[in-house]
Amino acid sequence: MPKKKRIFYPVVFMVIVTAFFTFLLAFLNEQTYERIDEQRALEFQTSVLYALDLPIETMTEKEIISFFNNNVEEKTINDRNYYIYSENGTTQGYVFQFIGDGLWGTISGHIALDPNFTQLLGVNFTDHSETPGLGGRIDEIEFKEQFRNISIEDTEQIIEYGTASGGNVDAISGATSTSTAVRNILNNEIPDIIELTQKEGFDE
């Protein structure tokens, strides 16, 4: 009898304590999961709108969410998602996600193109593992703003570093590898994207 009690009590105790804490967590989760999902979506939506050169700094979180939901549509072509931004019925831009090799890990982000595929509207980086303070500076506004309204008609070499010698963008000083990686990613992705847009089923 005593032996059964010895095993019985710990098990019951464990079950009660586990149940109590699990209920506590489930309750908390219930209260917050909507907000957590919203935050994650917000991060994504902000990135897309930023790439499109929209004035997100002046918008509140609610405004960003409602703007995105009203004006941006998600579609797929060849298993790749893309986003169509339209205002008053006319398409103003397309946004594609990209992922490529950086120095320390992969770099991913968004590329926004104008409806005629003649210009790069902008880029944003959503994830990377580059060196903080060096390659990591690709997140800085000054670097990203350089990629506004760059002509992509000549698909041979879209991004070229060295504005002093005829290029259209400046690399990050001290972060040659990361800068090169970004340039290569963009120069490879943009022609690929343009090719995708010419396939049947695009924006229908």
Binding site: P10, F13, L24, L25, L28, Q39, P132, G133, L134
Partner: protein
Amino acid sequence: MSEIKKLFSLGVWKDNPVYRQILGICSALAVTNLLMNSLVMGIGLIFVTAFSSLTVSLLRNHTPKHIRMMIEVLIISTYVIIMDIFLKAYWPEMSDALGPYVGLIITNCIIMGRCEAYAQNNPPFLSFIDGATMGLGYTAVLLFIAFFRELLGFGSLFGIQVLGDSFMRWTLMVMPPGAFFMLGIVIWIARNIFPDQTEGGPVNG
């Protein structure tokens, strides 16, 4: 009151979990490249350690001996999840910056150490204080290390640029080797200021 003072001086100075007990090293190295991240991690650890110690102490007379560690792990995990949920919902950028190191608070030896060494044998209120002061000592060391790493590596403090552009940043300070060196130096300094009188591990209440 004197008991609280004693706990405070132990947790922060004399028996500091990081430089004396050599516990909680993993996160002390990982997040100290930025002062803000260190502060958040420190506050999180104070929260988890204090409440875990409190809960363990409340249950100490009812917990069967041989499942005691599993109960402790359960309690610690619960508070860590609370912290994780809170960060994800209200401060997602910080949640991303701290990454998996929030979850790793569970394995932070400081918390388990305090539960085993103090909370098991002491009343709830004092256990809470013990947990909080140990967390405070941990936070203090983290902030000290982060001060140097962020200043030398980024030229900033709490994200605000302090040193001008002409300062050549020691990027190595914000990368893993810099973390190891800084912590080694901190332990060296601490050992010289507080020489080993009683090399007997953490003090029991």
